[in-house]
């Protein structure tokens, strides 16, 4: 899971364009990651056994969102928080996560299809490649086989969907429609305070600092700007809806040549 600015947040940029400004922004679990947490919990509930662990790379403020994930019902969490990780691009992030996950046992790894801050859609796919396991992206339905050796998943494609059988362990990246995530209950929030939340440093996972963070990143944002404002809207006047529609039709056809 990744902690990201709330969807309503106003994102500002520094006047010299060298970075974004997130002061005062409210943070949430990235919505696509929530689908993953929810699906993991449902699988655990359906199988009557299993453990749901959260993996999160990010600064100290992520703890709050990790606790929300634990409050939803996850059993424990690993928080990768180290200066060495700062400035990671998605591929470096995947490398670090893989180094931590390699030390554990796992059947299914859920990732959001993309994080709604960077919108890169890379980490889930790259994570699978780093772990040497298959992945299926954009899953909208998951059925884990009783023997846990495979899963049957539905995947969104252009103009339809595919039904895929994937051997486990595998990475599945989530798409909207997979499920409706539960809210953390009050008892869940109380229980979450006692669940293990392990801080993880680069040295703990044997990762070469030169391959992660700003040092290892292969892409770097060199300038950040706000999108150009649209020119003011032409609100079409008219005595009736029909008259306005006629004016619009003419404008689209003759002025804008849009139809």
């Amino acid at each position: 899971m990744k902690q990201v600015p709330d969807t309503e947040a106003q994102i500002r940029v520094k006047s010299d364009g060298t970075d974004v400004v997130l002061d005062g922004v409210k943070f949430i679990i990235s919505p696509y990651d929530e689908y993953g947490i929810e699906e993991a919990l449902r699988i655990k509930e359906k199988m009557g056994a299993g453990k749901v662990s959260l993996m999160c790379m990010g600064p100290a403020r992520c703890v709050e969102s990790i606790r929300t994930g634990l409050a939803m019902g996850a059993d424990d969490a690993f928080h990768l928080d180290d200066a060495a990780f700062e400035g990671s691009d998605p591929l470096a992030t995947a490398k670090a996560l893989a180094a931590q996950i390699k030390k554990l046992e796992y059947d299914v790894i859920f990732c959001g299809k993309q994080a709604i801050d960077d919108d890169q859609s890379q980490v889930g796919v790259a994570l699978a490649e780093n772990l040497g396991i298959p992945h299926v992206s954009l899953v909208t339905k998951v059925e884990v086989a009783a023997d846990k050796k495979s899963a049957k998943v539905s995947r969104q494609i252009v103009g339809g969907e595919e039904i895929i059988e994937v051997p486990l362990p595998a990475v599945l990246t989530t798409q909207k429609g997979l499920n409706e995530p539960r809210y953390a209950s009050l008892p869940g929030i109380m229980k979450a305070k006692k669940k293990p939340l392990a801080p993880v440093k680069a040295a703990d996972i044997g990762i070469d600092a030169a391959t992660v963070g700003a040092a290892g990143a292969k892409t770097k944002g060199i300038n950040f700007s706000l999108p150009p404002a649209r020119t003011a809207a032409k609100i079409i006047a008219g005595a009736s809806p029909e008259e306005k529609a006629a004016t619009l039709a003419k404008a689209l056809r003759e002025d804008a040549k849009a139809i």
Partner: protein, 329 residues
């Protein structure tokens, strides 16, 4: 240096995706400036007939990578074929459309060949020697210019319908290189059990040049008939806001927005859609936005090019009738 600029030429059922031509057209000048060859790389089975599709858009070379195991797209199959070819030929740049396939394939290949990858870009430029791409972040609230470092291979995927393809030049020719990749059945770990096409023949929202979308103001699924009629008349694909999808009026695949599809049509007509940030995130790069909503305070009226503050149940049918009249002239 100077080993080539590649564009992954996505094809489905023997038809090349438009975004391939958009990227090739725009990479021609980059290739010229850097003195490198521009190549299209097409994977599939029985795709020999596509070999001449790429030269008209600027390709110097077309790699036709054919194998039985590439008949059906799988990440494992396509990644093996493409990564092996990259390792062999060592291009300096490899580009993809930021499509379902491109976003599924590019990161895997990037890890395998140790490349850097910037996804969902909307433009590119050369700053002297430095190749820089521009991409939206935070659902389009911020744009970042991204440069590459620590890598010999730069990769990027480009959002469909944003770059403009040049008119095809039939006089251009390209060298065709046929490649038979080494793929074994055991390389492909997933099994595609079934492919279900629900919108066969319809232009996908992400590639549509015109879209008519309905939101909460539509009040119910039965009212989308007028949206579909307008869409039919202007040759548009029908979209929906999250409110309409969550209410069960329209399928999830119709949703435009932050948690739906990101679209970039020439024309986006939003009917009964308030225009919240999350919806705008999915259609804000539309070249022209038209809003029809009876609420003059709806945020969409600050984000559109043309707006009509009125009852969409009267405006939309009238608009359809007017457009039909104009088209008949």
């Amino acid at each position: 240096m100077g080993k080539g600029i590649w564009v992954f030429a996505e094809q489905e059922d023997g038809k090349v995706r438009k975004v391939t031509f958009e990227i090739l057209s725009n990479m021609r000048k980059i290739a010229d400036a850097k003195g490198e060859q521009l190549s299209a790389v097409c994977l599939g089975k029985d795709i020999a007939a596509l070999a001449d599709k790429f030269a008209p858009y600027g390709a110097d070379k077309a790699y036709i990578v054919s194998h039985d195991l590439l008949a059906q797209y799988t990440t494992d199959g396509y990644a093996k074929a493409l990564a092996d070819l990259i390792v062999k030929e060592q291009p300096s740049m490899v580009f993809f459309g930021a499509t379902v396939m491109g976003k599924d394939l590019a990161p895997k290949v990037a890890v395998r060949v140790n490349a850097g990858l910037a996804a969902d870009c909307v433009s590119m430029k050369l700053e002297g020697d430095k190749f820089v791409v521009r991409r939206p972040m935070f659902s389009g609230k911020v744009y970042a210019e991204v440069a590459f470092q620590n890598t010999d291979i730069m990769m990027a995927s480009f959002r469909p319908n944003v770059l403009v393809a040049t008119a095809p030049d039939a006089a251009r020719t390209a060298e065709v290189v046929n490649v038979t990749p080494e793929i074994a059945a055991s390389d492909i770990r997933v099994k595609v059990v079934e492919v279900v096409k629900t919108a066969a023949g319809k232009v996908d929202l992400t590639e549509a040049e015109r879209i008519v979308s309905g939101g909460r103001g539509m009040k119910g699924p039965e009212n989308y008939a007028m949206i579909e009629e307008l869409a039919g008349v202007i040759g548009a694909t029908v979209g929906a806001s999250r409110a309409a999808v969550d209410a069960g009026w329209r399928p999830v695949s119709d949703q435009v927005g932050q948690t739906g599809k990101v679209v970039s049509p020439n024309l986006y007509i939003a009917c009964g859609i308030s225009g919240a940030i999350q919806h705008y995130a999915g259609m804000g790069t539309s070249k022209m936005i038209v809003a029809i909503n009876k609420d003059s305070e709806a945020p969409i009226f600050t984000k559109c090019d043309y707006g009509i503050v009125d009852d969409l149940f009267k405006v939309v049918p009238a608009l359809t009738a007017e457009v039909k009249k104009l088209m008949a002239e």
